[in-house]
Amino acid sequence: MDVHTNQNVPSVLIVDADIVSRHAIADYLRGCGYAVVEAASTEEALIALREPRLSIDIALIAVVETETKNYFELASWIRSNFPDVKVKLAVNINRAAQSAAELCDDGPHLERPYDPEMVVDFIKRLRAGA
């Protein structure tokens, strides 16, 4: 079974250990027309990249401060082993939202579903309410 019904839609792999920000960024990118695969860890990211049915085109990696080395190693590993996969590294949620917005500009839909700063505000509001 293919995971994505429309094979012409580019697939974005989001690697982010924080479920709140991962969900918000993933939702945003789906709104831009991308097929999105969510990985909660570098280990899950490797599984996704090696799975031909997921056919990852772009990896958006949100670097976790405490595991910086792992995430930079993942980016390097992807560039070496999957040179066709475009890698975007984001060191905080603002950068992740900005990277997502830049992907939207090149994405299947012509318009962004909403401003990327709304994603950041949404995440902050959710965290404040936790």
């Binding site: 079974m1 479920i19 969900h23 909660a40 579903p113 909403y114």
Partner: protein, 133 residues
Amino acid sequence: MNLNTKQPRQQVTRSDRLYILVIEDELLIRTMLCEALRQEGYAVIEASNADDALGILAVIVPDLIVTDVRMPGSLDGTQLLAKLRKTNSTLPVIVTSGHLQHLADRTNDHTHFLSKPYTFETLINIVRRELRG
């Protein structure tokens, strides 16, 4: 890119869609299941373990939860269910596992136990039934 560009946009808030939280540690199963649910029109939140699920449950109450039993982390699916039921006795929960024989008789109005392997169609039918009522 100009982040300050002001254009009419929809608000990033909980939408009118029904929210389903899926907790599954196997990435491919989780991705396929969530995709199938999204195609049904549901908003889906993906969690890879119960700890992540508790993190999102602290900020968003979904309309339904689908959870695996055997997962890494501090809680398995049945422990998560027990914890959830202390504060919410009516939220529909579908528990999936390959080792459910001993749990099957615990299915009740709001908790379903679904044995693996299951078809997405079976699970989606339960979701539809639960969320219609």
